[in-house]
């Protein structure tokens, strides 16, 4: 086992930040202790140790770090977390948590899916369904994490466009060997890695039923550390729905998820990423997408819950003619901080990327959008567009936006647009003049604003179901009349 004195000393940080970091290290060490005697887990142990070392070197990011300027970690430090407890032997986690099918009801869409349900990160066979639809072309493995590729520093740098060749060849930026503070949640994910989920779809296979991956969180002060990998063979097509929800409104949890998506030539993947954690919980999520020629990636992220969330996606368009669409719908209330980030690296010619990110921020909510489109020298004929539109509904609401372009190819059409403001008074008046009540008008206009990013979901009943679910939630919009009076 590692000797303490061989390990880098931690950088300076507040005591509670240090306590959290050390607690996580201990969790990692406990896993290593457990796996010490298992030769099959030797590699995994080494990976955990390496990640822990990287984390020690960087420590936590502070607001002085460019990518963390708007996203303070203080609320996370105020909590203590340990890895979610796992059931003994072959016990179904649903039995341990005392869950029945009824718990699923709010999360079941009105159409057939292949449903994989996880309770605190552990697969529950009893709650899952539609598994009979799995055939030879679709493989789903709850593998030892060892079977899942590690995220090396070189991998991360590649996704972040810091590699040779993707930057301006005239003055290449050397790939950095030093761990970066930006990758703090990646290091934590690697350091606490135990199980992973790998989903593979064979070439040319078109999966008719969507896959549904439902993550239910029940334990208090639990870190749920998830690692998921999707691999689609050439011209394979599938769509999936990620859901992340807490069953206990009072239990505080932290979901730290790393997803890798690998799309071969002409593969088509569509993801809906739905997040409705409770107001105490935290979500850090990283999604890395690798796109071969003519592949298509579509992501609709719905950020509806969590005290603090940061969802970062890196999309690498590595093959000619690849296409990526990334949309966000974020509803930020109460004390929430919701941070949505995309980095889209155009590495090959004739690729297109489209983005629409919409935020409605109310109460004391804080919304953050950070988007970067990078265009490498080789990526001629790139067509990249990124839009961010925000509605602020209360005097204490805050929105920070950084839409960025970094371009090294000359024959490209890239643009970004961004607008923040309140609801147009004319629109409200117009509705009122037609007999609609003020609050109803506000709700109607807000809903229409917020739902736009979902319009490109091709699966009709999925889109409709998400619409309906959101409409129900939006009834909870505060009486805006009241807030206006306060304002005046």
């Amino acid at each position: 086992m590692t000797e303490r004195n061989q390990v880098t000393t931690l950088p300076k940080m507040p005591p509670n930040a240090r306590a959290l970091l050390e607690a996580l290290e201990q969790e990692s060490q406990a896993l290593n202790q457990r796996d010490q005697a298992d030769p099959a887990r030797e590699k995994l142990v080494a990976r955990r140790i390496a990640a822990a070392e990287q984390l020690r070197q960087t420590g936590w990011p502070t607001r002085k770090h460019e990518n963390w300027h708007y996203t303070g970690l203080t609320p996370l430090f105020e909590s203590s977390f340990s890895l979610a407890a796992t059931p003994n032997n072959d016990q179904d986690p649903a039995d341990v948590a005392g869950l029945s099918d009824a718990a699923l009801t709010p999360y079941l869409p009105p159409f057939e899916t292949i449903r994989l349900v996880f309770v605190d990160g552990v697969f529950s066979e009893s709650l899952s369904g539609g598994l009979d639809a799995i055939d030879d072309d679709l493989s789903i493995e709850m593998a030892d994490a060892d079977a899942i590729q590690s995220m090396t520093l070189a991998d991360l740098r590649r996704y972040q466009g810091v590699q040779d060749g993707t930057r301006n060849a005239a003055r290449p930026v050397a790939p950095s060997d030093a761990p970066s503070v930006d990758d703090v949640f990646v290091h934590i994910n690697e350091m606490c890695l135990d199980q992973g989920l790998t989903i593979r779809l064979a070439p040319n296979k078109v999966l008719a039923r969507p896959l549904q991956i439902l993550q239910l969180v029940t334990q208090n002060d639990a870190l749920v550390n998830l690692r998921v990998r999707f691999e689609l063979g050439h011209h394979a097509q599938m769509s999936w729905l990620n859901q992340c929800a807490c069953l206990d409104d009072a239990a505080r949890s932290w979901v730290n998820r790393l997803q890798q998506v690998s799309l071969a030539d002409g593969a088509v993947a569509r993801q809906v990423d739905w997040q409705g954690l409770n107001d105490q919980s935290f979500l850090s999520s990283m999604t890395y997408v690798d796109q071969a020629p003519h592949s298509q990636w579509q992501n609709h992220a719905l950020a509806l819950g969590a005290r603090w969330s940061r969802q970062q996606s890196y999309v690498c368009l590595n093959g000619e003619g690849a296409d990526a669409e990334q949309n966000t719908l974020a509803w930020v209330r109460g004390q929430q901080l919701t941070d949505a980030r995309t980095e889209t690296q155009h590495g090959a010619a004739h690729c297109t990327s489209r983005q629409l990110h919409k935020f409605v921020v109310q109460d004391q909510g804080r919304g953050v959008f950070n988007g970067m489109i990078g265009v490498a020298k080789a990526a001629q004929k790139t067509d990249g567009q990124m839009d961010n539109k925000n509605l602020l509904l209360s005097p204490k609401a805050k929105m920070d936006t950084k839409p960025q372009l970094e371009i090294y190819a000359d024959d490209v059409a890239c643009s970004h647009g961004c607008a923040s403001g309140e609801i147009d008074a004319n629109q409200i008046f117009y509705a009122q003049a037609r007999g609609i009540k003020h609050d109803e008008a506000v709700r109607m206009i807000t809903q229409a604003f917020l739902l736009e990013p979902l319009e490109s979901i091709a699966h009709d009943s999925l889109r409709q179901w998400l619409h309906d679910d959101l409409s129900k939630r939006l009834v909870a919009l505060p009486s805006l009349q009241h807030q206006r009076d306060e304002n005046a």
Binding site: K377, K398, P403, I407, V412, S415
Partner: protein, 489 residues
């Protein structure tokens, strides 16, 4: 400007040679300090300028602070850390020195070689009635001439060098120095506060509309010297002034440092138009030499209905690091930023603005046009910040980039922070190139490729050039054409 003269110009421009025509060096007797930076040097600069104690204290305070600060490298421009001991922090033509010592009118004391240099640069120093601009000419560390001072003083307008203002209007300087850009604001502002050489001081009294454009021409001549001018511009209630600055330097094979600070104070209902045509030596094809242009320019709209407008045409410098900003304190105050930044060869420009909205009903407009050619990198970096009290604030931002050739980069890094729901902001950015179809269309009408490019580029920059005073617009267009030569082909 009419379209016909624009056309005439394009032809004129194409016949010009593509070298940096301001790259000559003036041979004259100068007093230049030994290289190096320490407290003794700062005391010597202050003594040379015969400064009062408060000014020396300001310098020393800034120097103490500067020593503790790290050199910033966050901009999208790469440079080796500078050796600050390898620069001289004071250089002045000697003849001019004696003129100041003997308290003679400055105009008579101009070194003939220096006068020749300014004449060659097309800067009128004779102050004759013909010219409708008043000029402050700054040669390395000192102001050598300020024209039309007497005419202006009849209106109560103070237009003089910063050093003179320290002597003659100490209360005014003390009242405003460091209020907009504090001595600890950033690394280069702190350095400037410590070693400030000459700059311009402008004061326009209440209700006065300055009848001529005021202008400063900065010339760096000596090798291995830095220029650290400090400019303060104060517009009292209801006044108006249009101020222009231009700059150039000889061709040198090492980096030269230019770290200026400009502070602008705009009171109630006053309006200031601040225009810059920056043509510092950009370095040669292999990235040798050139000016490092690390500048802090900031203005505050103190009073209600105040208006500050920055317009810049940036074509020179090896590295530009410059964000002219507006702090919109007064209700209904207006901030504007119009910029054309052209980079060619291996130039790196990281420029933009900050619009800080504090007052109610404040408005800001940002129009930025970036052109990248050769092996250059051109970055727009801007902050729009709307604070909670800025009810009904409005911002409109448009950043357009154009790439010419495939070895260059164009980047847009906007920061937008909104903390007031009644505020409305809109940001648009596009990146494009001169389209093949546009070139073919022009060619099909008989227009050569070079003419077509000039035409399209000027069209691209039109929104900004129309904000520049006439002569400056002309100069900017010429510079653009000259700087673009050899970028396509």
């Amino acid at each position: 400007m009419t379209e016909a003269t624009q056309y005439q110009e394009i032809n004129d421009l194409l016949s010009k040679n593509q070298h940096y025509k301001e790259g000559f060096y003036t041979q004259t007797a100068v007093e230049t300090f030994e290289k190096g930076l320490n407290e003794t040097v700062i005391r010597a600069i202050s003594a040379k300028k015969n400064e009062p104690q408060w000014m020396l204290d300001f310098r020393l305070k800034a120097f103490e602070h500067w020593k503790k600060m790290p050199e910033p490298h966050w901009a999208k421009a790469e440079y080796e850390p500078l050796d600050y001991q390898d620069y001289s922090y004071y250089s002045a033509p000697e003849c001019n020195q004696c003129a100041v010592d003997e308290d003679e009118p400055v105009e008579e004391g101009i070194d003939p070689e220096v006068a020749k240099a300014f004449a060659a640069l097309g800067v009128p120093l004779d102050g004759s009635g013909e010219s409708d601009v008043a000029v402050d000419a700054i040669f390395d560390s000192v102001s050598v001439s300020t024209t039309k001072r007497e005419e202006l003083s009849k209106l109560g307008i103070i237009f003089c060098s910063f050093s003179e203002a320290v002597q003659e209007y100490p209360e005014l300087v003390q009242q405003y120095l460091g209020t907009v850009v504090p001595h600890h604001d950033n690394y280069f502002a702190a350095l400037n506060s410590a070693v400030a050489s000459d700059g311009t001081f402008v004061y326009v009294p209440e209700g006065v509309r300055c009848p001529v454009d005021l202008s400063t021409y900065f010339r760096i001549n000596e090798a291995k010297t830095g220029q650290f001018e400090r400019t303060i511009l104060i517009a009292e209630k209801g006044s108006y002034v249009s101020y222009l600055e231009g700059c150039s330097a000889p061709v040198r094979d090492t980096y030269q440092l230019h770290a200026a600070v400009v502070e602008v104070i705009v009171h109630e209902r006053a309006e200031v138009k601040y225009s810059t045509v920056q043509n510092w030596y950009p370095g040669d094809e292999d990235c040798e030499g050139g000016i490092l242009n690390f500048v802090t320019k900031r203005g505050v709209c103190e009073g209600d209905h105040a208006k500050l407008s920055w317009t810049q045409a940036e074509t020179g410098s090896a590295i530009t690091w410059k964000y002219p900003s507006c702090v919109l304190k007064g209700d209904h105050s207006i901030g504007e930023f119009y910029s054309v930044a052209l980079t060619n060869r291996r130039q790196q420009a990281d420029t933009g603005t900050k619009m800080i909205h504090l007052g109610k009903n404040t408005r800001s407009t940002i129009i930025s046009k970036g052109l990248s050619a050769g092996h250059s990198d051109n970055t727009y970096r801007g902050l729009v910040r709307i604070l909670p009290g800025a009810d009904n604030a409005r911002n409109f931002t448009q950043c357009d980039s154009m790439l010419i050739g495939n070895q260059c980069g164009a980047h847009t890094f906007p920061y937008i922070e909104v903390e007031n729901p009644s505020a409305q902001m809109e940001h648009e950015a596009t990146t494009s190139r001169i389209g093949e179809d546009q070139l073919f269309y022009c060619q099909q009408r008989g227009i050569s490729e070079q003419d077509a490019i000039s035409m399209i580029v000027n069209g691209f920059c039109k929104d900004v050039f129309s904000e520049l005073p006439l002569e400056f617009a002309q100069e900017a267009e010429e510079l653009l054409a000259v700087s673009l030569e050899g970028s396509v082909g």
